[in-house]
């Protein structure tokens, strides 16, 4: 049964008479700074997070360079402490958490729902400016010397540190507000602005993961805000909320902090999984092996992820009873990730696979995410974590997920949706080369760190025994290779903006709804109200049939 489109005017023809793209429709700086268009806001976020990625990467290279030799290489210990702190703060809050949601979520989610924009466009712009304000405040704190507490801000040291903690805390707090506003927008849009005929069981899987991510953003971020406020009060006013000398308990901070920060890692990985859930069916030209499995496991991760925070605190002094509860609960969340991995792999089976850069990123993701995920289950085992906690083993584990998973998927999305966003094609050859180089650089950087950690190298340590040096040198070499590969990747995309060949509306032959629009889309995305009452993964239809069905 086909629902009739609400718009009775015939679809506009291609060519000069059709609506201009969102890039061309208005010009001038003010039309960008004051835009309500979710696509333009997405681009502004894009530029911003690429900048923060560069900043975080610079801190990373600085600290990896310092670790080339067992003693001082280029900086003193106090500076080194600031480097790893600011690397963590930048990468977590200024890059990873916003990255896929604010760039690709903002751009693609409304289009995938058949909507003209998000539910609250002005709020979206506010969210962007809040992000800039948070960024400026945090960077201001960095320029004033930054802080050396680690991105986790544990008391009592965060209470006592002579560094400028408050601006960094305030900046992250403001970023949290931006995140919450974005989350409100995404959830409301998914509920209220789906195209006519689109049931929940037919929304694209990327939307499911952005939705799940938004739930976590909404429910976890306020707790982070409170934890930062409390250490800010302790540090700035000397209140002693967590000070044992006046009866306080520093471990309580860890409970509140990790209640947010564990779900936060799912904020970082769920959108990445959403990208993969789009890339795999498209390049296999086959519907997902089980749509329900991927959608349900998304919600599973979003909720069960809240139950597991204590596994960061196994050796912090919590009761063994509590630790045991958290250890068991932590095992459950891995099940959902496994469901996804098996479903993606099964989707490839008997598909008409087209090898391409986004798919190569998927293969990298598959290997690295499974590897990292399994080591996650390993460190979630209490008895084993006693050995690995606060060593490079944990560092390697979470970088495998954050970089091997999230960043890889970010790069996949950058390539996959590049034609849609900019109307151009990038060089496929350079794309494949840079993807391979990124993978190589990553493995060289982080695989040695598992060995380092298992051998006993503690994390956040400025100096180390000489027998660890060769692994550190390997890791640093890999870091430079990774940096070069990332530069190559983004240079390829940047050059394609100007010199890439013009992209058709649907270069990959995908059935997902955003590919029904021109590349790049017009301001209101669709011609009239599209009729999206069919599955976005129905590859039994041809592209023309899909267009006719949607009334586009």
């Amino acid at each position: 049964m086909t629902a009739a489109p609400t718009e009775t005017a015939p679809p506009l023809p291609d060519g000069p008479e059709s609506e201009p793209s969102y890039l061309a429709v208005e010009s001038g700086l003010w039309s960008w700074l004051n835009t309500r268009d979710h696509k333009r806001i997405a681009l502004m976020f894009y530029v911003t997070v690429l900048g923060t990625f560069l900043l975080g990467g610079t801190f990373a290279l600085a600290l990896r360079t310092e670790l080339l030799t067992p003693r001082r290489t280029i900086m003193d210990a106090m500076t080194y402490n600031r480097m790893f702190t600011l690397h963590g703060v930048t990468m977590v809050w200024l890059f990873l958490i916003p990255s896929i949601p604010t760039v690709f979520g903002n751009f693609i989610l409304p289009i995938q729902l058949g909507a003209k924009d998000l539910a609250f466009p002005k709020l979206n712009l506010v969210s962007f400016y809040m992000f800039l304000l948070g960024l400026a405040t945090t960077v201001g704190g960095m320029l004033a010397g930054g802080t050396d507490t680690g991105w986790t801000f544990y008391p009592p040291y965060s209470d006592l540190t002579p560094t400028r903690l408050v601006p960094v805390l305030l900046g992250i707090f403001i970023l949290g507000i931006s995140t919450i506003l974005t989350g409100v927008n995404f959830v409301a849009t998914t509920h209220m602005l789906r195209a006519r005929g689109m049931r929940w069981s037919q929304i694209p899987l990327f939307v499911w993961t952005i939705y799940g991510t938004s739930i976590i953003m909404l429910l976890a971020t306020p707790v982070l805000g409170m934890s930062l406020l409390l250490v800010g009060l302790d540090h700035g006013l000397g209140l002693g909320i967590f000070d044992p000398a006046v009866g306080g308990d520093p471990v309580l901070f860890e409970h509140i902090f990790w209640f947010y920060s564990h779900p936060a890692v799912y904020i970082m990985i769920l959108p990445a999984m959403g990208v993969i859930s789009e890339v795999v069916p498209t390049f296999a030209h086959r519907r997902p092996a089980s749509y329900t499995a991927i959608a349900a496991s998304t919600l599973g991760i979003a909720f069960v992820g809240f139950f597991t925070w204590g596994h960061h605190m196994f050796v912090a002094g919590i009761s063994t009873y509590d630790a045991g509860v958290f250890g068991i609960l932590s095992m459950f969340v891995a099940i959902f990730s496994a469901i996804k991995v098996f479903t993606w792999t099964a989707t490839l089976y008997k598909g008409q696979i087209v090898f391409s850069t986004p798919l190569l990123y998927f293969f990298a993701f598959l290997f690295l995410f499974v590897f990292g995920g399994m080591t996650g289950v390993a460190v979630a085992t209490q008895s084993l974590d006693v050995h690995w906690h606060d060593t490079y083993f944990v560092v390697a584990h979470f970088h495998f997920i954050m970089v091997g998973g999230s960043v890889t998927a970010f790069l996949a999305a950058a390539h996959y949706w590049f034609p849609k966003m900019f109307g151009r094609m990038y060089s496929e050859r350079v794309g494949l080369l840079s993807a391979s180089a990124v993978f190589l650089g990553f493995v060289l950087t982080f695989l040695p760190q598992f060995l380092l950690g298992n051998m006993g190298m503690p994390r956040r340590y400025y100096s180390y025994p000489a027998q660890f040096q060769w692994l550190h040198v390997l890791s640093t070499g890999g870091a430079y290779l990774l940096a070069g590969a990332l530069l190559l990747t983004f240079t390829n995309l940047a050059l394609a903006l100007k010199w890439g060949e013009k992209a058709p509306a649907n270069p990959w032959g995908s059935r997902s709804f955003e590919w029904l629009t021109p590349s790049p889309p017009p301001k209101h995305n669709f011609r009239g109200a599209p009729n999206l009452d069919y599955s976005p993964y129905d590859y039994t239809m041809t592209d023309e049939e899909a267009h006719a069905r949607a009334g586009q």
Binding site: F120, P121, N185, L239, I241, D243, H255
Partner: protein, 214 residues
Amino acid sequence: MPAPDNELATLGDQYDSLETQERSLELGMWIFLATEILLFAALFALYASYRSMYLADFKAGIEHNTLAFGTVNMYVLLTSSLLAALSVSAVRADRPRTASWLLGGTALLGAAFLAIKLCEYWRHWQEGSLPGRYYHDRELPTFGANRFFTMYWVMTGLHALHVTAGVGVVTWMAVRARRGFYTRAVHARLVIGTLYWHLVDVIWIFLWPLLYLS
């Protein structure tokens, strides 16, 4: 139909009907309220933890607390909530002027809450029941009492900040109601403001027994 010059009747491009827009605004506010619940959740967890560590001292602290002030404030907030809810009923009954008065009453009671709170803080300051390292109450010199009053200050302080913001929002809405911005057909922006105010009331409904009663 809403008056043509009522700016709130403007339909955003992304909406297909005024009703969808109104419902979206309400849903957005309910989602925001959920985030506020989680904001205070961290403080409730801290309170519960310290209370379980220092139960006797917490009870002593509660008995030492200014029950009269806290209780009057409970009644004040409940009444203000009623007035806010009635303002929505008034708009639905096509009586925006009445709504405006009701909202004004809400704001006034909110301000009264803050005034009483300030008196209360002054009292605590005189007795030395200050938060954390500043605590020097001679009558209850224990760690547990220190923890109790630290949590008291942080929780009521955050709540008072929310009340202040709420008074601002409600006052602004009172003015808009007077000018006829909320009509029977289009008044989601009024509803969402009152929802925020009710949340502030609900938080005090939980703070009051935890900090004053038992």
